[in-house]
Amino acid sequence: MIDLAPPTTANERLVVRALTIGRRTALGVLGDREAAADVAQEVALIALQKAGDVRDLDPWLHKVAVRRALKEARRNRDRRDAEARARVPAPDDDPLTGALELLDGLPPRQRAALTLRYVHDLPDAAIAKALGCRTGTVRSLLSRGREALRSEL
């Protein structure tokens, strides 16, 4: 059973931070607003349960958000492909749709690396911690991601 203190200012700040990091990360990785909201909620719930002893909150939240988003990407790859094909196109002038379309088609880990760098402004070392890999791998993911997007920029 989860045993939590009632919402306090500190808890609310924690939830806001977790929702923000969770949603931005998941949007970048999944490209789906509803799925991103689900992942953000999961990240916020985990934060409420476990963040009490964390000294360095943001790196931990980034790691949890990336892991949850990549897990969701693996689990729902087929379903979301089908849903995407059936989805009514958003208006061309929606800037978020344009941003998500830019990342569409890239592998989830490349999307995660690009999101952590260009949305969260994280350096290589912090991205490596969030992804659980070496900084060399991060540089490779970013390089391949930028190369794939070159024609769009």
């Binding site: 989860i2 939590l4 929702l19 719930l45 002893d53």
Partner: protein
Amino acid sequence: MTLQDQLAPLRDDAPSDAEIAAVFAAARPRPRRRTRRRLALGLAAATAATAVAIAALPAEDSSDPIALLRAAAATAADEPPAFTGYRYTEILERFNDREQRVENWVDRDWQGRAITDGRERDFMYGDGPLLDLDITALPTEPKALLAALEANERGQNWAPGLPTDDQVRFDVTYSLLLLLGTANTTPELRGALWGALALLPGLKPSDAKDPNGRDGDAVTLPAPLRRAIPWGTGHADVGTFTVIFDPDSSELLSWSLTGVGGGTPDQVHTYLRSGHVRNLGDRPR
């Protein structure tokens, strides 16, 4: 236009009051059940707290032991890291007819204190294969971790004769359970320990109550070879490890070892409390 500019729309507005309220609603204490909550959030709902709906989704398939262990691995890896202090465990151990209550405080170097039935001593794991293991050097990828533990078992000569494949398999399973129960590891390694358990052959789903009647996810694994079973009483060939764990925390609730043919386990380890504490002698709240 730069990539930062192109992706700027992902830096959306702050979460709405409705989303924040939904998190607190989903986090309220509730009876344990095998569901997890999912926020069914339409974009229009973001402006009205009353419009936020919580829907239940099925949890991991309880009939798939690999899925259960992988879920535990993910939960363990999401735990916040602890840089100082001790992993505390209070364990009720039964070996055949002998029962003892043990409290352990273990640091990152596999050192600490233990109190067994009121007698205090240094924590000393002392069970052959794990005695000299450098926990901090273990891989955090499940396959590599399994290979490292197997190599460690084969490199040890703590029992007479060379270990057979079955004996190594038994020892690796036993070591994984001891490390999951007692060792003070990083979240990444703890996740890999659960992941390695999911790689072992012969996994089956099991009943989900521990000896204290607590709910949990449960799996069984084969425990091969008579002579590898410590404290054995003549059971033959292949016994059974039964592992019960809390899916919400990835903490072990209990594990036991039963001889061939079932019946009363030869040994049962029931984890009454576990957690991280700052100082020797502290106990989790």
